[in-house]
């Protein structure tokens, strides 16, 4: 498989389709990352699209200090934060409106799961970005603490502490909704 760096350099050399190969490689991951941050699939799509457009236009400024993946992730994270700020200013924040596909099933477990997702969206939206971002990178992207530290340019210890505090905060915000069935009984 051609490396990301090679694709970017081919694009800078004039091969338009090399950038499209990068888009195809990362679109699902960037949408998922954006969804983790904005908790709305429509918005996540816009954020991912904007991130790719920005990367496309600014490709020549890529300096190679980090990986292309980290560069794309960083652009997407910044775009997601811009979007959240914009929404907050307009007071439109969809605190409990995680856009989940409506399904016909209505079993108790499905309803409870959907309820939990809605509250999760609200809790994440209220969380400070410096907690939410490393938590999303850890839980949704499965990145290691070291990878997160490199991506966000934070010390390793800061990442560990923030991921941990974010988890505890989320747990306390969700309260009984997230209790294990064993405990509920």
């Amino acid at each position: 498989m051609v490396s990301d760096e090679k694709l970017l350099s081919q694009f800078l050399g004039g091969e338009e389709e090399a950038f499209e190969a990068l888009v195809l490689r990362y679109e699902a991951r960037l949408r998922r990352l954006a969804y983790g941050l904005v908790r709305d699939w429509g918005l996540a799509e816009d954020v991912a699209q904007d991130a790719f457009i920005r990367a496309y236009l600014k490709a020549s400024t890529f300096r190679g200090g980090a990986s292309v993946k980290a560069w794309l992730y960083r652009i997407a994270i910044n775009r997601a934060h811009d979007e959240l700020r914009r929404i907050r200013r307009k007071r439109e924040i969809p605190l409990e409106s995680a856009v989940l596909p409506e399904r016909a099933e209505s079993s108790e477990a499905v309803v409870a799961g959907r309820e939990l997702q809605r509250h999760l969206a609200g809790a994440l939206a209220e969380m400070r970005p410096e907690y939410r971002t490393p938590l999303v990178l850890r839980e949704m992207e499965g990145m290691t603490y070291r990878e997160i530290a490199e991506l966000l340019e934070w010390p390793l210890g800061t990442v560990q502490i923030r991921v941990h505090r974010a988890r505890l905060e989320l747990r306390s915000r969700l309260g009984p909704l997230n209790e294990s069935p064993r405990k509920k009984e």
Partner: protein, 151 residues
Amino acid sequence: MSCKRWEPLYSSFLDGEMAATDLQAFSQHLGSCSSCRDAIDSLRRLSEVMSVSVEPEPGFIARFRSRRQEEMERNGPGTVWRWLAARLAPLAVAAILVAVASVWFSEQEEELRELEASEVGIGLSWEYEEIALMSPVLSIALEPFPPPREP
């Protein structure tokens, strides 16, 4: 051991980054502490709730192409020129460097040719005398050393 001691380490346990000695002690503690067990269960459940699988979307690339097109058109030719300038800048710098290097090398080559010609003998002796006449310091320097004085 108290749960306050273990609480800061919940995440490193969940992420498989706990030190081996702590891991052994915490595993033993979990066997007898329902509070820590519940906490770990609920944090694990959070991880499951947060994880989302996303499949590639076939229409994404088509939308990317049309947005790219829109972006170019919306910002007019300025954007196209800026885009072109950004992409051509490294090439322009490389071209300038090549031009400077080629001028420098041709000058060096010329000097080398002159030096080769002077080594034949004619040019060098002429230049040597001319310089000696023009520069008093050099003329003195070129004079033979006086004989050593008798003690």
